[in-house]
Symmetry: C2
Subunit: 268 residues, 2 copies
């Protein structure tokens, strides 16, 4: 038993889908979340900068006595995971890109896989690279969907406009006959029901957060570090704009958040 919280961080609010997943599947665990709302987006920043910002966040999370960390950000996961594990060798770190790849390899039957994400994620080519390294016979098609994030953040995920936007973006992937679709941006699981309306039951939607939460559960079990608090604590920290984050938390978690504070993250 270890009732210390799990630390989860992202460049902004999107990582709240990972929080939701951990709340559901590791229900006894307390959580400390950090969203770097002052420095978002990370996708356009250099690898060096992304690593530096992430290390500051992990140092802050360590002051909150976290027992393990989930990197909920695709950009940090792709660019900086090795460096961060080297800088912080004593704390278990789970990221989101590997888990997405792992799930896709298991769900695909035809070997034709789609990936959706931000421009930065799709242009980085990270998902195709990792998938093809595992199995060079796979076909992997990417598509940037820049309207998805504002659709989610405006609370429009289930409106007709969202349906039309999803249909438009996914058309080229559907034409390639993908049988699995990786949701390669933390915001996108919020569009799951709308995406399902467009793609039907024939395509498996892959939310990397599910596997990331499962991996975290495994690590905690193996190390005898799980917690089964009846009433776990959820604390949220941002680098800017608490009010807007609260609105987003309402949209993402479908309930109000109680503890939120701003942290001068560049001092860590």
């Amino acid at each position: 038993m270890d009732s210390r919280p799990i630390g989860i961080f992202d460049s902004g609010v999107g990582g709240l889908t990972v929080v939701k997943e951990v709340m559901n599947s590791l229900a006894g665990e307390s959580i400390v979340y950090f969203g770097d709302t002052a420095r978002v987006p990370y996708g356009s920043k250099s690898k060096q900068t992304v690593t530096k910002f992430s290390a500051q966040i992990i140092r802050f999370l360590l002051t909150q006595d976290v027992k393990a960390i989930i990197i909920a950000c695709n950009t940090v996961s792709s660019n900086s995971i090795e460096e961060l594990r080297e800088i912080f060798p004593n704390i278990p770190i789970v990221e989101v890109v590997g888990p997405g790849v792992h799930m896709a390899l298991h769900t695909t039957k035809t070997g034709i896989i789609g990936v959706v994400g931000t421009h930065a994620t799709i242009e980085s080519n990270k998902y195709p690279e990792l998938l093809l390294a595992k199995d060079s016979a796979l076909k992997v098609y990417g598509k940037a969907c820049p309207l998805f994030v504002p659709l989610v953040e405006d609370g429009w995920a289930e409106r007709d406009v969202a349906y039309q936007v999803v249909k438009e973006y996914l058309r080229p992937l559907l034409e390639k006959n993908i049988d699995s679709l990786i949701l390669g941006c933390t915001h996108y699981p919020m569009l799951t029901s709308t995406i399902k309306k467009v793609v039907g039951d024939q395509i498996e939607l892959i939310n990397p957060a599910e596997e990331a939460a499962r991996q975290m559960g495994d690590i905690l079990s193996k190390n005898d570090m799980t917690s089964d608090d009846y009433d776990p604590e959820y604390k949220f920290y941002v680098s800017d704009s608490e009010e807007r984050f609260k609105e987003m938390a309402q949209i993402f978690l479908n309930k109000p958040i109680e503890h939120i504070a701003t942290v001068p993250i560049e001092e860590y």
Copy 2:
């Protein structure tokens, strides 16, 4: 006569609507454009940082021998115009927020004015502040429209999805019976025809770039610095992602751009 170029800059690609306006209304002038694509968006950055970044850009533009500068970015215009004029007292600088306010004061008959922009611009409250300082009897209503930028950048400005999004965002402003609408983000003039379909002829759309170009023309005339080159030069510089900028230029200007290069702007 002064054939040196006009410098125009923005945090990213949006300032291309200002370039378009200058190409149209000051057709003999050469242009040097800088888009800070590596450090976009400015809206979430502190005033101090925005001023520092803008000063670097102006120093770069001065190395390109510009005769005058247009700040095409709403965030820089709102936050840093006084400081920049102090740092660079010897070059005429025109911005975009004052011109938008000026136009709205002239077009409104009922005194009920709407403003659309990014979250950062609307939350800054700059437009209402400046309008009410001129006439405290005005009613000013703001609305953040975060889907507009990706709609434009994906080349969807005239699709049915855009029409639906515009209708949704403008509904609360239309309910207030605005008679003038300030397009308070440089991307938004790209949506003019779709916005007109939604609001009809009863509402005047205000593109601050028109007045900014007119002010620039005035300044050049008064100082005997105009140019009437038959074949003016257009040069574009970015801090990152030339390829993506080229695509955007095609969408915004409706023609390919010839001269583009990347500049290590943090060294200026």
